[in-house]
C-alpha cells in the first residue's frame, strides 16, 4: 500500500537534488538566451547564408530529441578532446537546444510588432540602432517574457533527461532512492511533486508578468 511516511521521507533528499535541476534549467536558459539571440539576429540578417545557417540550426535542434542530442554531445565531446564535467556538458546541451526555441520566440515577437511601430521611428529620423533599441526590442522583450518563462518550465522538465548521463538531479536521485528503499511508487511520486511545485511557481510568475505587462 501507499505509505505516506516513505513519501514524506523521500521528499527531503529529492528537494536537495532539486538544486541541480534548477542549475541545469536556469543555466540552460541563460546560455539559450545568449545563443538564441545570436541565432535570431542571423535569421533576421540581410545575409542569405546567415539566414540559411540560422534556419538549419533551428530545424535541427527542434527536430532531434533532446535525449539523442544529449548522448551525441556527451559521447563526442571527449572525442574532440574536450574533457568537461558531465554537469557542464548537460548545461551546454540543454542551452544549445533551448537556443533554437528562444530564437523562435524572439523572431515571433519581433514579427508580431506592427510595421508602423518601426516606420513611425524611421519617419522622425531615428537611426536603425535607435529604432531597435528604443522601439522594437523593449516591446519584443515584454511580449516574450511569458513565452520565456514557459520555455524555462519546459527546461525544468527536460532536465530530468540528464539523469541518463549520471547527474544526481531530482530524477536520478529518485532512481537511486527507489533502488535502496524498494518503494518506487512513493519515491517517484515525491519526485513528481517537487517538479510540480517548481513548475507551478514558475507558471505563477509567468502569469504575474503577463498580467503586469498587459496593463
Amino acid at each position: 500500500m501507499f505509505s505516506i511516511p516513505v513519501f514524506l521521507e523521500s521528499l527531503v533528499p529529492l528537494f536537495w537534488a532539486a538544486r541541480y535541476t534548477l542549475l541545469i534549467s536556469v543555466g540552460g536558459i541563460a546560455l539559450g538566451l545568449v545563443i538564441g539571440t545570436l541565432i535570431c539576429a542571423a535569421r533576421l540578417s540581410p545575409s542569405r547564408s546567415l539566414r540559411r545557417f540560422g534556419a538549419v540550426w533551428v530545424s535541427f535542434l527542434r527536430g532531434v530529441p533532446l535525449l539523442v542530442q544529449l548522448l551525441v554531445f556527451y559521447y563526442s565531446l571527449p572525442l574532440i578532446g574536450v574533457d568537461v564535467p558531465a554537469m557542464v556538458a548537460a548545461v551546454f546541451t540543454v542551452g544549445v537546444c533551448a537556443s533554437a526555441y528562444i530564437s523562435e520566440i524572439w523572431r515571433g515577437a519581433i514579427n508580431a510588432l506592427p510595421r508602423g511601430q518601426a516606420e513611425a521611428a524611421v519617419a522622425i529620423g531615428m537611426t536603425p540602432a535607435d529604432v531597435w533599441r528604443r522601439v522594437i526590442l523593449p516591446q519584443a522583450v515584454t511580449m516574450s517574457l511569458p513565452a520565456l518563462i514557459n520555455e524555462l518550465i519546459l527546461l525544468v522538465k527536460a532536465s530530468s533527461l540528464v539523469s541518463v548521463v549520471g547527474i544526481l538531479e531530482i530524477t536520478r536521485a529518485s532512481q537511486a532512492q527507489a533502488a535502496t528503499t524498494f518503494r518506487p511508487l512513493e519515491v517517484y511520486l515525491a519526485a513528481a511533486c517537487i517538479y510540480l511545485v517548481i513548475n507551478l511557481c514558475l507558471a505563477g510568475l509567468g502569469r504575474w508578468l503577463e498580467h503586469r505587462t498587459a496593463v
Partner: protein, 256 residues
C-alpha cells in the same frame, strides 16, 4: 509662381509587375494645404509615403525644398545619415497612429527630440509638454496610448510630429481609423496647424475637410494623377469624368 515645398516629377513606382505610380507630377506650394483624394488603391498613400522615402520610388524625382530625397543622383541611393537628416524636417502622421505603446504620451513626443535632435532630457520633456498642450492634451500627458481614445492617440501622434518642428507635414488618412464622433477633434487640430501656415499634404476621404481647408486638391486614380487644382474646380466643377464618377459615388454613400 509661389515657391514649392515639394516638387514631384515623373515619379514611377512598381510593386513587382504592378505599376503603382505612373509618371506622377505634382507640386505642393509652401505654406498651403494640399489634399490627395481618390478611390482606395489609387496610389495616394504610396505617393505620400514616397515623399519621405518610407516607400522607395523607382524613377523620377521628388524634391523637398529643392533637395532630391532618397537619391544622391538618379540611380544612386542616398546614405542613411543624409536621409535621416531630411526626414527630421518632414513630420508624418499615420492612419494607425503608430504610437509606441511602451511609452507615455509625453515620452512618445519627447523620444524624437531626445534621440534625433539630441536635446537634453528636461528640454525635450518641456517641449513635448508644449506640443501636447497645443493639441489639447495637456491633461493626458502621462497616459500610455492604451489609456487614450483613438482621437486622443492621433492628436498625440500629431504632437509627436510637430514637436520636431518640421517644415512639411504628411498625413496618411489620419481620420480613417477613427470612430465618426472622434474625427472632428483631429480635424480641428489639423485646421489650426493649417491656419498657422504649415505646409501640409493630406491623404483623406474627408471631402468636407478638402473643400474647406485645402488650398489645392489632387485627384488620383489607378496610379495616375488625374488633376490638381483649387478645391472648387476639383470638387464642385470637375471636368474629368473619373472625378465626376468618384464624387457621385461619394455623395450617394454619404446621403440618407
Amino acid at each position: 509662381m509661389q515657391a514649392s515645398a515639394v516638387e514631384i516629377q515623373k515619379v514611377n513606382k512598381y510593386y513587382g509587375p504592378f505599376h503603382a505610380l505612373k509618371d506622377v507630377d505634382l507640386s505642393v506650394p509652401a505654406g498651403k494645404v494640399t489634399c490627395l483624394i481618390g478611390p482606395s488603391g489609387s496610389g495616394k498613400s504610396t505617393l505620400l509615403r514616397c515623399m519621405n522615402f518610407l516607400e522607395e520610388y523607382d524613377s523620377g524625382e521628388i524634391r523637398i525644398d529643392g533637395r532630391l530625397i532618397g537619391y544622391d543622383a538618379p540611380g544612386r541611393k542616398m546614405g542613411g545619415r543624409a536621409l535621416r537628416e531630411m526626414r527630421r524636417s518632414i513630420g508624418m502622421v499615420f492612419q494607425q497612429f503608430n504610437l509606441w505603446p511602451h511609452m507615455s504620451a509625453r515620452e512618445n513626443v519627447a523620444e524624437g527630440l531626445l534621440r534625433v535632435r539630441g536635446l537634453p532630457k528636461a528640454e525635450a520633456s518641456a517641449r513635448a509638454a508644449d506640443a501636447l498642450a497645443k493639441v489639447g492634451l495637456a491633461d493626458k500627458m502621462d497616459n500610455h496610448p492604451s489609456r487614450l481614445s483613438g482621437g486622443q492617440q492621433q492628436r498625440v501622434a500629431i504632437a509627436r510630429a510637430i514637436a520636431m518642428e518640421p517644415r512639411l507635414m504628411l498625413f496618411d488618412e489620419p481620420t480613417s481609423a477613427l470612430d465618426p464622433e472622434l474625427v472632428g477633434e483631429v480635424l480641428t487640430v489639423m485646421k489650426t496647424l493649417a491656419s498657422e501656415g504649415m505646409t501640409m499634404v493630406v491623404v483623406t476621404h474627408e471631402m468636407g475637410f478638402a473643400a474647406h481647408v485645402a488650398d489645392r486638391v489632387a485627384f488620383m486614380e489607378r496610379g495616375e494623377l488625374v488633376a490638381a487644382d483649387t478645391p472648387d474646380r476639383i470638387l464642385h466643377q470637375p471636368q474629368d469624368p473619373r472625378i465626376q464618377s468618384f464624387l457621385r459615388t461619394y455623395h450617394e454613400r454619404n446621403s440618407f
